[in-house]
């Protein structure tokens, strides 16, 4: 390995990057855009869900329970109906998320301690329906207890650690950093080698004393710096714009991130070499980076709920380890040493990817 060769290759790649300010701007802007989108737009908690009410008799008791729903933080009554058909139509059109039916004999049955309320949920979005159901059950239960005048047999004190208000933003932003880095890292490198192959530049490189190891190293070197710059931008925005607490150490986060960036960059280089042309490389990286990182990393969908076969697949998604590490360092302030298995997995992936890329680079026809 001749360091001068590596430097020459890296310098050439720098020029490529600087000559195309539009691509460079996109690479630097993308993490911020994604962070802002996820940070501001994505909210999984529900407040003021629009519900419709069908109140079949107007008496004090029915009015009371309806007012309770309207006053709660979770629901907002946006429509009142007079028959089931119009309630059904409003649910069908998505105008309301749920319908509350207070039957005509509600007050009478309440006197016999045997009243029933009906909640009709638009369950197309099952998650929202589940959350609404939980809120409504708790609300009706509290109401019923207050009517009966009994002390509740058990009280529940509900707390949440690391994110006291259960605000989804805090849980999401550290994960987003992982998604962003997974996408950017692979994206940056996935076209570079394919481009050389497509243009035929590789043939020219074959006449130089450059070896394949030097070629790979020089190619990836500049992108590593851009990747780390992206990372610091994203961490800065998370802490200063979104007020996500960074409870662990910045050094640990940087170190783990560097490891992850290297893994995804090698993944991109590998895609580049396998595809051989930019169109195919772009297709492969599109479906092998964003979607797995988004869906199989435990970022929003918990891995332990997946079928076992799929859980095994998530082990080869590098973002899986980094999402966990990022959340641990940000929110729990845990040292990565405590969860060394995740770090070890990333390290193993790095070595394996480097090995595969090195072997695969033999086909480029450069010196060994």
């Amino acid at each position: 390995m001749n360091l001068q060769h590596v430097r020459a290759m890296a310098r050439k790649e720098w020029w490529h990057l600087l000559r195309d300010p539009r691509s460079l701007a996109l690479i630097l802007l993308m993490p911020l855009m994604l962070l802002f989108l996820f940070g501001y737009a994505v909210r999984l908690d529900i407040s003021e869900a629009p519900i419709g009410v069908l109140q079949e008799s107007r008496d004090a008791q029915s009015d009371d329970i309806v007012a309770r729903f309207d006053a709660s933080h979770a629901f907002q009554i946006t429509a009142r109906f007079h028959d089931r058909r119009s309630l059904r139509a409003a649910l069908q059109s998505g105008q309301i998320w749920a319908g509350l039916v207070v039957p005509y004999d509600y007050a009478k049955r309440l006197r016999r301690n045997d009243a029933a309320l009906q909640l009709l949920l638009d369950a197309v979005d099952a998650n929202t329906a589940r959350l609404l159901r939980n809120y409504a059950t708790a609300l009706v239960n509290d109401y019923a207890l207050s009517l009966s005048g009994r002390a509740p047999p058990v009280r529940i004190e509900d707390r949440s650690w690391f994110n006291e208000t259960k605000e989804s933003r805090f849980a999401i932003v550290p994960g987003v950093i992982a998604i962003v880095m997974a996408v950017i890292g692979a994206l940056m490198t996935s076209l570079t080698i394919a481009r050389e192959m497509e243009y035929g530049n590789l043939v020219m490189l074959r006449t130089t004393p450059l070896t394949r190891g030097e070629f790979l190293l020089g190619k990836l070197f500049p992108y590593f710096f851009i990747g780390m710059a992206d990372l610091l931008l994203a961490v800065g925005a998370a802490v200063y714009v979104f007020d996500v607490p960074l409870r662990g150490s910045l050094a640990a986060l940087t170190l783990v991130s560097a490891l992850f960036v290297l893994v995804v960059m090698l993944q991109g280089a590998l895609i580049s070499m396998v595809a051989g042309n930019q169109m195919l490389a772009s297709q492969i990286s599109l479906i092998s980076t964003f979607l797995p990182a988004f869906l199989l990393s435990g970022f929003i969908f918990a891995i332990e709920n997946m079928p076992v076969a799929l859980q095994y697949i998530t082990y080869v998604v590098p973002a899986r380890y980094y999402v966990a590490l990022s959340k641990l360092i940000f929110l729990k302030g845990v040292s990565p040493v405590l969860v060394w298995t995740e770090v070890a997995a990333l390290l193993a992936m790095l070595l394996l990817m480097a090995r595969i890329a090195f072997v695969r680079a033999r086909r480029l026809g450069l010196l060994p």
Binding site: A41, T137, E157, D158, N277, Q278, I287, E304, V339
Partner: protein
């Protein structure tokens, strides 16, 4: 007119051959959409089915044991007893448990159950505490005897078992098509520019509009093929009920493809190299997925962002395809969505026709 058709046919023949010549590209039209559907169909679930829960029972009363038995009987939770809070907290630090159920020593005198959820995954935290408190409350009341004066009966319409899959699988069809077509369109145009073959096409009698249509039709065919392929798989494999009108799906897909391909062309008009086209494509696709309501309800977004979602064609197609599958709607239920997709597509096409010379 006839000359135009002849030229178009020639261009189409070239485009189809160029796209599908590489066997790996042919593979890419068929296999990844299927894999995406199957993997995502299984992965995408917000529900918490087998949550690991730590239990710290300092009270050791009959009642606390009864409550725990009720939690276990629910089947969704796997309980792990811990001797003290420190050990349980350590387990939560390492992501071993999602929540801690804590009974204080004075539980017999003061019946308070403490539920501590891991807020670093806020959605799961909400669902786990919701389910746990429901079970504990219910079982506590049963022990105390006496029914409460009001009961809530809930009915989940369109998706009675609250299966997340029925919500996500139709959505995946829409995203698969977006991913498969938008960047591909952009790349086919930009490749001609980058390779210099666009110059050569310019000296032919091919008109600008013919060129754009010739570029779009092959990708549109791939897109439609993918819609059919993935829809059949969704019905056959995941058994998602398709209650609506198939012709409405066809119309929706065509309009949706017009808008994704139009956006692809627009991207190509802003990029001079394939790398730029791909980066721009990512720059568009990711917000399009996030803002579409695919996983995150639009109504929860801040109002400014909600306005932004009106520019997202995926948003409209998601409504159409979900309602077609689950609610069984027809063409006339979604005239607004069809109209918006057509409008977005036409605007994008017009802009790119003006820009590509």
């Amino acid at each position: 007119m006839i000359g135009s058709l002849v030229r178009l046919r020639a261009l189409l023949a070239k485009e189809f051959r160029q796209l599908l010549r590489d066997p790996r590209m042919r593979f890419f039209v068929v296999v990844p959409p299927l894999i995406q559907l199957v993997v995502l169909g299984y992965a995408a679930s917000f529900d918490v089915r087998e949550a690991q829960i730590a239990v710290v029972d300092y009270a050791h009363t009959q009642q606390s044991r009864d409550l725990l038995a009720a939690v276990t009987a629910g089947g969704h939770f796997i309980l792990h007893p811990f001797p003290d809070m420190a050990a349980a907290a350590d387990a939560m630090d390492r992501n071993r448990v999602r929540a801690i159920v804590h009974f204080a020593p004075d539980f017999a005198r003061r019946p308070v159950v403490q539920l501590i959820a891991d807020g670093s995954d806020s959605n799961s935290a909400q669902i786990v505490t919701g389910q746990l408190s429901q079970i504990i409350r219910h079982s506590g009341q049963q022990r105390a005897g006496g029914q409460l004066p009001v009961q809530l009966q809930e009915r989940a319409w369109y998706n009675p078992n609250l299966e997340d899959r029925e919500y996500f699988v139709p959505g995946i069809i829409a995203t698969v098509v977006l991913v498969a077509t938008m960047i591909l369109t952009a790349m086919t145009v930009v490749r001609e520019r980058e390779m210099g073959t666009l110059e050569r096409l310019m000296v032919t009698p091919l008109a600008r509009l013919e060129f754009l249509v010739g570029k779009m039709i092959p990708v549109a065919c791939i897109g439609l093929f993918d819609v059919v392929l993935v829809t059949v798989l969704a019905i056959a494999w995941f058994k998602i009920p398709f209650r609506g009108d198939p012709s409405a799906l066809l119309l929706g897909s065509v309009l949706y493809l017009t808008s994704t391909l139009g956006l692809g062309l627009l991207i190509s008009s802003y990029s001079s190299t394939q790398q730029q086209a791909m980066l721009l494509g990512f720059f568009v696709i990711m917000p399009a997925i996030i803002l579409s309501g695919f996983a995150f309800p639009i109504r929860n977004m801040p109002e400014g962002v909600q306005w932004l979602t009106f520019l997202d064609p995926l948003r409209y197609f998601l409504v159409v395809i979900r309602d077609l599958f689950l609610k069984g709607s027809g063409i006339f239920d979604h005239l607004f969505e069809y109209g918006m997709m057509a409008l977005l597509g036409a605007t994008a096409l017009l802009l790119s026709a003006l820009r590509i010379r």
